[in-house]
């Protein structure tokens, strides 16, 4: 079912629409959330986060615009943000403020507009570099570092051995690092 039909179905028949959405994307969302919260939160917290992702999608269904991306991409984006936010809260609750966020707690310690712009630019270059990797390296990197799939699962899907996946991921990462280090160097 394409995105337009899916969204229309959710609007007209929420139960059937959301059930279909969850059938198609539950594994994807679970993988992302588990990849971020696994080892940090309980199984129940992870399940709660997954349900929040779908609920958030449902609440914002009227704002969905195909021009801004696909349903799958929107779900991924929500899952990433939700999981990161929960992870942060969990760390704080445990008294462990992640090193890279410690500065944000101080007045005026958050990232400046310039820093945000630089991070955005860096991300833009990274995504362009990921796109330029070519297959299967692009899929491996996206699956491993964006969708948080295990090497074994990726190997099964791409009909490769686990070591081949890891070797290719390692080499592709090297290339991406070079691109980003190039940015830093410049």
């Amino acid at each position: 079912m394409d995105d337009a039909k899916r969204v229309m179905l959710i609007k007209t028949d929420p139960e059937a629409g959301m059930a279909g959405l969850m059938d198609d994307h539950m594994g994807l969302v679970c993988s992302i959330v588990r990849g971020r919260l696994g080892g940090v939160c309980t199984k129940e917290d992870i399940e709660d986060c997954v349900s929040e992702v779908f609920a958030e999608f449902y609440r914002g269904i009227n704002n969905f615009s195909p021009e801004k991306g696909t349903v799958k991409a929107l779900l991924c984006s929500i899952a990433k943000h939700r999981a990161a936010s929960i992870c942060q809260k969990a760390s704080r609750a445990a008294g462990n403020i992640p090193l890279d966020e410690a500065g944000n707690e101080l007045p005026g310690g958050g990232p400046s507009a310039e820093e945000l712009a630089a991070a955005k630019e860096k991300r833009r270059k990274l995504i362009t570099a990921v796109e330029a990797l070519g297959e299967p390296d692009r899929s491996i990197i996206v699956r491993k570092y964006y969708l948080c799939e295990s090497s074994k699962s990726i190997a099964d899907r791409l009909s490769m051995t686990v070591s081949a996946v890891d070797t290719r991921a390692h080499r592709a990462l090297g290339k991406l690092k070079k691109v980003l280090e190039g940015i830093n160097d410049e």
Partner: protein
């Protein structure tokens, strides 16, 4: 920059960026793992206020109830209205989607300066898809990329593509965007395009050892890989070891290296910024206390020789303790071009490396066919004056080597043409002088030697504006800055390749010499705009010479290690004898140019 950084960068991707990342990724059927999906589903319905099983709860018609006559006309009219509305919605959706695709494709064309004139909307979208997915199968892509390459004013022979590439478009795309070819993307720079016969190529990559998500100063492993025609054939890991030198032999490849030294003195843990140095120190102390005991075997360095067969299986790996005395590391790069070579001997294998007596000597270590250490000699080259062993290559009777005067270093400027001594080093370490060779120019950089057909061949390049070294780009940079207003823009200093490349090419001439018995150099071939690279011996005993032809360049004022970067296409020439006049074979390989 580590894996976590990449994950974190991707974590903040917007849904538009996520869309780009997920293009073509089939995420359906991904495993939900231990998640109780039924529970999640129930929670979602609750949170969304959706009444589960609502449809099943609808009242069903009771048996025997009178069914009213269907009002077909009304139903048909309603259905037609719904269909019309749905059609309009879908049509609008299709238009929006088409417009979005076209805009994305056009932005891609603009970003890469690809000419879009004369192309239809559909063609622009098709070419974008073809290039951005690395498919390179659409003939229109080749036309667009050829037009782009022509705009760069590259000569026809540069644009000509050999057979060792996926498609012409793939090659042109890499050429136009300074992307080195896949198998040659790591560490290979112009003058070092070591492609053995049949396009066999080896790569070494190091993976850093991480501790609690931070980089340490140590390597976790060195991955040694073999490629044929760009395809990965095998990959062998050397954990906590580094492959320093390798050489293909008749039934595999030899690799020699060292075990990594992991001790408290060299330990450090990298942090993100200077204000976290206390954290770095704390992690370092923790690493020393908790992790170092695991690496007790690595307190002292050992050396190893290994052989890997054509299937990627390690036939043997043997450790030995001979150490060639080295200069201290600060001097190392200034003085030494040549590190070491491995080659076959009648008894097995040998490792020849410079070392001892301030490099006025060498160490020749012999091994059996099974890799067992046989012996080692460390003769002095003192009788040949203040000469260092700087280049060597295997030959039929041992190795042929060039000894250079003390003052010849990569970064130095030799005031006069340099005279080298050409010697043969026997399997037993004996040294016999064959002749002396005087470089014909002051600006001559020697990159490789070989012995074939009883003659010594020398590859290098002539730098046409003086001496080789760190100042090679001086005149180019001066010219750019003399007209800096012309190149300055909001995006920085942008000097187009069509301006820069011809100027850079004019500075270089790849040179291949063969030496007469008295050492007189006879020029066999000269390739303008190129850098003479490695020499090797082909399967049929022919000499193979790679010339790295500069094809595109860019000015890079903000990088510390180079000022002009670019790409060279690797051209190959084969000689059975110096009298041959071979044509260039385009290998399709691209290597980096950085000066």
């Amino acid at each position: 920059m580590n894996n976590n950084d990449i994950e974190k960068l991707l974590e903040l991707a917007s849904s538009e960026e996520a869309d780009r990342l997920l293009e073509g990724i089939d995420a359906a059927g991904m495993d939900a793992g231990e998640t109780d999906t039924g529970k999640v589903r129930k929670a979602v319905f609750e949170k969304c206020g959706i009444e589960e099983g609502r449809r099943e709860a609808f009242p069903q018609p009771a048996r025997g109830r009178k069914i009213r006559r269907f009002k077909w006309k009304r139903v048909l009219a309603a259905a037609a209205a719904v269909l019309l509305f749905a059609g309009a919605c879908l049509g609008a959706w299709a238009l929006i989607r088409e417009n979005r695709e076209y805009k994305t494709a056009l932005a891609f064309f603009e970003e890469h300066d690809l000419p879009a004139e004369g192309l239809t909307r559909q063609q622009i979208k098709d070419v974008y898809k073809d290039i951005s997915t690395n498919n390179f199968a659409d003939p229109m892509s080749e036309k667009v990329l050829t037009a782009y390459a022509n705009n760069l004013r590259l000569s026809e022979d540069m644009i000509y593509v050999g057979t060792n590439v996926k498609t012409n478009s793939d090659y042109l795309w890499r050429l136009s965007n300074n992307i080195a070819s896949e198998p040659y993307s790591v560490g290979l720079i112009a003058g070092e395009s070591l492609l053995y016969d049949g396009n066999v190529h080896f790569e070494r990559e190091w993976t850093g050892l991480e501790y609690e998500g931070h980089a340490t100063g140590f390597n976790e492993k060195c991955t040694f890989e073999k490629y044929v025609g760009g395809e990965l054939i095998w990959s062998v890991d050397f954990p906590l070891e580094s492959v320093e030198v390798y050489a293909p032999v008749s039934d595999g490849v030899l690799a020699a290296g060292v075990t990594d030294i992991i001790n408290a003195e060299n330990a450090y843990v990298q942090v993100e910024s200077h204000d976290k140095l206390d954290e770095a120190e704390r992690l370092r102390e923790k690493f020393i206390a908790e992790e170092l005991p695991k690496y007790a075997d690595h307190a002292v360095q050992r050396r190893f020789i290994a052989k890997i067969n054509d299937k990627g299986e390690v036939v043997f790996k043997k450790y030995f303790n001979v150490t060639a005395p080295k200069y201290n590391s600060a001097d190392y790069y200034d003085y030494i071009e040549f590190e070491s070579i491995l080659f076959e001997t009648p008894e097995g294998y040998a490792l020849l490396e410079p070392g001892g007596h301030n490099y006025r000597a060498f160490v020749l270590t012999s091994f059996s066919r099974g890799g067992d250490f046989i012996g080692s000699v460390n003769p002095s080259l003192g009788e040949y004056g203040n000469l260092r062993l700087q280049w060597a290559a295997p030959s039929e009777n041992g190795a042929v080597a060039l000894l250079s005067p003390d003052y010849v270093t990569y970064n130095s400027i030799a005031p006069d043409p340099v005279t080298f001594s050409v010697v043969r080093i026997g399997f037993d370490g004996s040294v016999t002088e064959l002749c002396t060779f005087t470089a014909p120019y002051t600006g001559f950089k020697l990159n490789s030697i070989a012995e074939q057909g009883g003659k010594v061949w020398i590859s290098g390049y002539r730098f046409t504006e003086g001496n080789v070294g760190v100042y090679e780009m001086q005149s180019i940079v001066a010219e750019i800055w003399a007209n800096i207003d012309r190149w300055s823009s909001d995006d920085g200093i942008l000097v187009p390749s069509d301006y820069l490349t011809p100027r850079v090419r004019a500075l270089y001439e790849a040179k291949l010499f063969v030496l007469e018995s008295d050492g007189a150099p006879v020029e066999v071939l000269s390739v303008p705009g190129a850098i003479g690279s490695f020499l090797s011996i082909g399967a049929n005993g022919e000499l193979i010479w790679n010339a790295d032809s500069i094809t595109s360049t860019y000015y890079s004022p903000a990088t510390s290690s180079f000022q002009v970067g670019g790409t060279c296409s690797v051209e190959r020439y084969r000689f059975a004898s110096p009298a041959d006049t071979p044509k260039a074979e385009q290998t399709g390989a691209l290597v980096q140019f950085r000066r």
